[in-house]
């Protein structure tokens, strides 16, 4: 393979993309007429089935960065790419066992609903929404910057134009179609991504007579035995565990993922939806792993790293090599769709933290009617959407890879511990929650700045002040310790009494909305 049309707008690529945009805008139009009340805007009227939500959860989670990035990582570093992918899956069982059902039974629209269930509304909602917003913003910036560069690589579109297109479409979905449109955008994207990756794997395996051994032999002959052995990704065990904690519990603290559990009618559907999601995401990572190996074998590392140093174009190059320009066009459009769906989910989650938690919960002290709240949510969507576009352009060319790791660390430390303790611990108090959230937030942000990831790689100092690349292990346990100590020091009788009702509602769903 010597020539590639990658980096130029192709007719098929544009055609597939326009088809996707037309279909999703039609859905948005359809959803807009069903999106008037708050339960409709935030939670699609709780009308989504378990399987649909499973696909939508997978759609929210499988970003273009993980598809192109992990395939690329595998193609250049072999087995280490698989280790990385595994970390992104293992949070899902934790959500299933500990979070999904109580969350669905106790809350209404945001995870702050659950944390604030029996504690003092205003300080808790302020703290929880802060954690949610910081997680969402970090993740959003990383996605936007990634989107701009990926679209430039694939279609040759200028970075700023790509950002504006992505931003405008995501605002349109969320603003007019609320959660219903966002959910269906996720479902379509998940089906396209899983379908596209499956076809690509099928075409790859066809080259090897549907025999994985042939493919492994091919790559080990080309790149040596090292390719199928663990390499340099994990050298320091504490570093690896720290990242592992952030990925595992961070997944269980991502606001846009947690919010999805309110779109199903009850806890049973919530539980089923995580099972489907885990299956889809696991299957997706196995496909991605195969695509990485396939592109190393059939395209070759030299070409892959020549086009993009990080290997991000491994999957599109493989698609072109095996399915020609048409399949490349299809896959490029799917990657574009993937970016759009993820940022739409994030924007909705961020907007609801602003409107439901801050505006209604804190400013209006819980006294706002349906109309006012939907209006606030729409204004928040617009503001957050524009902010995402501006930040995407401001951060052009910056190294934002660490932001995903930081978003997971914040989610694991600020969001998860407080949510977990509020569900399971009777003596958890308002002060406990506040200390837990702010400690987790502060530690994860402060320590990552002092870590090799930022202090050395970005700020160009020679020695890190904090030794670990991801602060997860310190900030996660730190948030628990702070929450426990503060709760011990401040007894809250009212909260303890309300725990009884909470327990009944959490376990058997009486009173759930």
């Amino acid at each position: 393979m010597t020539e590639t049309v990658l980096g130029q707008p192709t007719f098929t690529g544009i055609a597939f993309f326009l088809l996707f945009v037309a279909a999703t805008l039609y859905i948005t139009y359809w959803a807009a007429r069903r999106t008037r009340k708050t339960a409709e805007f935030y939670a699609a009227g709780r009308s989504i089935t378990g399987l649909q939500n499973g696909l939508a959860l997978a759609g929210d989670y499988m970003s273009a960065a993980s598809f192109l990035g992990i395939a690329g990582l595998v193609s250049l570093r072999g087995y280490d790419g698989l280790i990385y992918a595994v970390g992104f899956l293992v949070g899902w069982p934790i959500i299933t066992f500990l979070i999904a059902e109580p969350l669905r039974n106790l809350g209404k629209y945001t995870f702050a609903d659950v944390v604030a269930y029996r504690l003092k509304q205003r300080p808790i909602r302020t703290a929880a929404a802060t954690g949610a917003l910081i997680t969402v913003l970090l993740y959003l910036i990383a996605q936007m910057v990634g989107a701009g560069s990926l679209i430039k690589l694939m279609f040759g579109l200028p970075y700023e134009i790509a950002i504006v297109i992505v931003g405008t479409l995501m605002i349109a979905y969320v603003l007019f179609g609320g959660m219903l449109a966002t959910t269906w955008v996720q479902i379509i994207k998940a089906v396209l991504l899983l379908g596209g990756a499956t076809i690509l794997v099928f075409l790859t395996l066809y080259q090897f007579g549907f025999n994985y051994l042939e493919m492994f032999s091919n790559v080990t002959q080309k790149y040596g035995e090292k390719f199928v052995q663990p390499g340099g990704l994990i050298t320091n065990p504490i570093d690896a565990i720290s990242l592992g904690i952030a990925l595992m519990f961070g997944t269980a603290g991502l606001p846009h993922i947690l919010m999805r559990f309110y779109t199903v009618p009850d806890a049973k559907e919530a539980r089923k939806s995580v099972f489907y999601a885990t299956g889809f995401i696991g299957y997706f990572y196995i496909l991605t792993f195969t695509i990485g190996f396939g592109s190393a074998a059939l395209v070759g590392q030299e070409i892959i790293s020549k086009i993009d140093k990080g290997g991000n174009m491994a999957a599109p190059l493989l698609a072109e090599a095996l399915g020609g320009e048409i399949f490349l066009g299809f896959l490029a459009a799917v990657a574009f769709a993937t970016i759009l769906a993820v940022v739409a989910g994030l924007t909705l989650a961020g907007a609801s933290a602003v409107s439901h938690d801050i505006y209604v919960g804190v400013i209006k002290r819980g006294r706002a009617d349906e109309k006012q709240e939907v209006k606030a949510a729409k204004i928040a969507t617009l503001c957050l959407g524009f902010l995402a576009i501006i930040l995407g352009i401001l951060f052009k060319g910056q190294n934002v890879a660490f932001m995903v790791g930081l978003a997971f660390a914040v989610a694991a430390s600020a969001n998860f511990p407080a949510l977990f303790m509020s569900i399971f611990w009777k003596k958890f108090t308002t002060q406990g929650a506040i200390w837990s959230i702010y400690t987790g937030l502060f530690l994860s942000v402060f320590l990552i700045i002092l870590s090799p990831t930022v202090w050395v790689d970005i700020l160009k100092n020679s020695q890190p002040i904090f030794p670990l690349k991801n602060p997860g292990i310190v900030s996660f346990f730190g948030a628990f310790v702070a929450g426990i100590i503060a709760s011990w020091l401040t007894k809250e009788k009212e909260a303890e009494e309300k725990f009884e009702t909470e327990k009944i509602r959490s376990y058997i769903g009486i009173g759930a909305e």
């Binding site: 698989l82 595994v86 293992v90 051994l213 199928v228 663990p230 009944i504």
Partner: protein, 99 residues
């Protein structure tokens, strides 16, 4: 009424059963994943051994972590659908769905 539910044997059994299965499966998942990480950190040689042709031990182990995570969520959902839901609906019937 609330006290009645909380102190009833049925409710205590529901909570005990649910907590037990949640804790056991969570610990299993933690062992599987962090076991995998520690294995990579401390025993790369083991994972680098060939088992079949070019395939190293690490490949089925890595894929296995993904599959086991899914299987564990499957066990949880199956248990909940079969046993937990039935107990909950019996309890709800008894108290009439109101507090």
């Amino acid at each position: 009424m609330r006290k009645g539910i909380l102190n009833s044997e049925e409710f205590k059994e529901i909570v005990r059963g649910k907590n037990a299965i949640s804790i056991i499966l969570t610990i299993l998942e933690l062992l599987i994943y962090f076991g995998f990480i520690l294995l990579i950190a401390y025993n790369k040689e083991f994972l680098s051994q060939k088992i079949y042709g070019p395939v190293t031990v690490g490949i089925p182990v890595g894929i296995g972590v993904i599959l086991m995570s899914w299987v564990l969520t499957g066990i949880y959902v199956l248990w909940s659908n079969k046993i937990y839901d039935e107990k909950v609906s019996k309890m709800k019937e008894k108290i009439g769905g109101e507090l």
